[in-house]
Subunit: 354 residues, 2 copies
């Protein structure tokens, strides 16, 4: 199968697939250092929390080549600050920098710039490999429940493009397909930003998995037809009780799936589970720029001066979620216990590997 | 208030406001005959079941000028077939043609082409005037139940632009507003064709009724907030049992309204009630061109060669409909009886007027 890799690290060079140009063109851009990388993240050349984390890690590796010996820690913090400012809310970005800082701090006194860069590069590669590994394990667990009994609905893009590769919800779909299950994927276009139309449909086509694009208003009608056997989506943040924040439109898909007795699964790497957040009420819903709704591709579609509602996310209550697929297994039933257990297992695994 | 008129018949010329160009520009196009009119209907220069009915009627008047004397019935059926094929779901189109056929059949033997055209023109004008009158009466009945208890959601465009003027669902909203009720209207953008963004938001702004535009994936999240008191939509065809065919996306709004215990009303002039159709299973669902989904404003948004699902309508089962607002009153409870009674009353009214 064709591999979709939004981020490539080749012979010490960082290359990104420019996601703003997809699906019309596959343009690869090469980044030079921290400033360059921060700009690419801010302008959405790369998107999706895990993909942003991996990109930032390699951006720091690039920057480290110009660190001054004797001032390594100081130069590291300068570069880190530039990167962290790019998407201040992206938790994986912060987490990648924390891992590289720990790597730097573990180096012997008087380490050379060259040796530091080598150590940081090793850690960045590990972050990337870990992300793909997490997705593959998550995919294998998801493949046991998704794609059974008919076609599959997904929403937004929780694919290879949003991660270091493979994907979360799309990783599950792919894993189910590779296990021999046969189905068609219905991808909701996901207005206003059209991640489903632009990215998910493109990825699935590359993977040669049958995909049909639909608008977000067609979900109910499709479910009514009886041909759908499961829904799988990603998540931006999942609360301790199993309430799921994800791209706007997810909540209503869950309500519709419930009405038609179609199981609704969430692909949630443990890194996206926030045990400090008791339930969905604690998840802030970001309102985005009205022009995302009034314009498409720079072209105005609505009357001038019309008010706009543009929440970026919504919260699906745990009661509508059939199961949460993590890299440590499928969690269902008592989410409070099950999610805490999955997070603990993932932490233990990282400690053993570290 | 500013009046919006999508169809004008002036000195024997048929002019349409090109709705594909709205809201950016107000362009008027003139039509020549049946083929021209069918093309305008198919390509959505004019849309909305009642507006299509009125347009088709005038299209037949234009066509009738070229009928061959002695072959009037034959030529009528040729033109009628061209028009009927333009939008199969729109029952008003069929009904307008039935009215003109009856007019033709009521003419004396050996009627001249000129006299026939005159008679058809009189009837087409009556269809247009009746439509506005029907909408006003329907609006007054709807105003008693819509706009209470919070904001209003509507979908697609069942406004003046979808009718000869005033509107059905938007007519109800307008009538409720004029009666002094205060609320905000949330208009779903209605992909793929964006009638909500392009037309409804524009109409309501013209009427100075507060309107907020949202994408179709935001309905569930909005209803969850508790601020919505009622939903009102139009219909392309309503079956004898109260099953409602309307723009794709309507069904899922009804499911979401039901979950949040928000009343869901359908503004259905009796002309859109098809008593010959026992239930929603008998309503043909038109599949439209995939490029409506893969492109926006002529610009490709999805990958080349992606399959597309593009049903133009869906069916909302009667059990999810709180009430059907007709020009003869609000029908609720036993739809089979209530709708038959409303249609009978409307027929009696037309006979008295005729």
């Amino acid at each position: 199968m064709a591999e979709v890799r939004p981020i490539r690290w080749r012979k010490g060079r960082l290359e990104l697939l420019d996601q703003r140009k997809l699906p019309a063109r596959e343009v690869v851009v090469e980044l030079g250092g921290a400033r360059d990388t921060a700009r690419a993240i801010r302008s959405m050349v790369v998107r999706g929390a895990p993909a942003i984390g991996v990109t930032a890690a390699f951006g720091l590796v690039l920057a480290s080549r110009r660190f001054r010996s004797g001032r390594l820690a100081e130069d590291f913090e300068k570069a880190a600050a530039i990167l962290e400012a790019a998407r201040p809310t992206a938790v994986n970005l912060h987490w990648a920098i924390v891992r590289l800082r720990e790597t730097m701090q573990a180096q012997p006194d008087g380490v050379s710039v060259r040796a530091l860069t080598r150590a940081l590069e090793t850690e960045a590669k590990r972050i990337m490999a870990d992300d793909i590994d997490v997705n593959r394990r998550l995919g294998a667990f998801g493949a046991k429940v998704v794609g059974r009994g008919g076609d599959v609905i997904t929403h937004c893009n929780a694919g290879a493009l949003a991660t270091a590769g493979y994907g979360t919800a799309v990783g599950v779909i792919r894993s189910a397909w590779e296990s021999g299950r046969r189905f068609r994927v219905f991808a909701g276009e996901t207005r206003p930003f059209l991640q489903g139309a632009r990215l998910t449909a493109w990825e699935l086509k590359k993977l040669r998995i049958p995909v049909t694009l639909m608008t977000d208003g067609m979900t109910g009608h499709l479910l009514k037809s009886g041909r759908v056997g499961s829904v799988v989506v990603g998540t931006d943040r999942t609360a301790a009780n199993g309430d799921v924040a994800n791209k706007i439109g997810t909540y209503q898909i869950a309500v519709l799936a419930d009405r038609h007795r179609v199981p609704f699964y969430v692909a949630a790497p443990t890194s996206s589970i926030d045990l400090d957040c008791a339930n969905g009420d604690g998840i802030p819903i970001e309102e985005r720029d009205p022009t995302e709704v009034t314009h498409i591709g720079g072209r105005r579609i609505a009357a001038e001066g019309v008010d706009v509602f543009n929440p970026a996310f919504d919260v699906t209550p745990a009661e509508l979620v059939t199961g949460i697929i993590t890299e440590e297994g499928l969690v269902r039933g008592d989410y409070r216990k099950g999610l805490a257990r999955a997070v603990k297992k993932a932490e233990a695994r990282r400690r053993r590997a570290g």
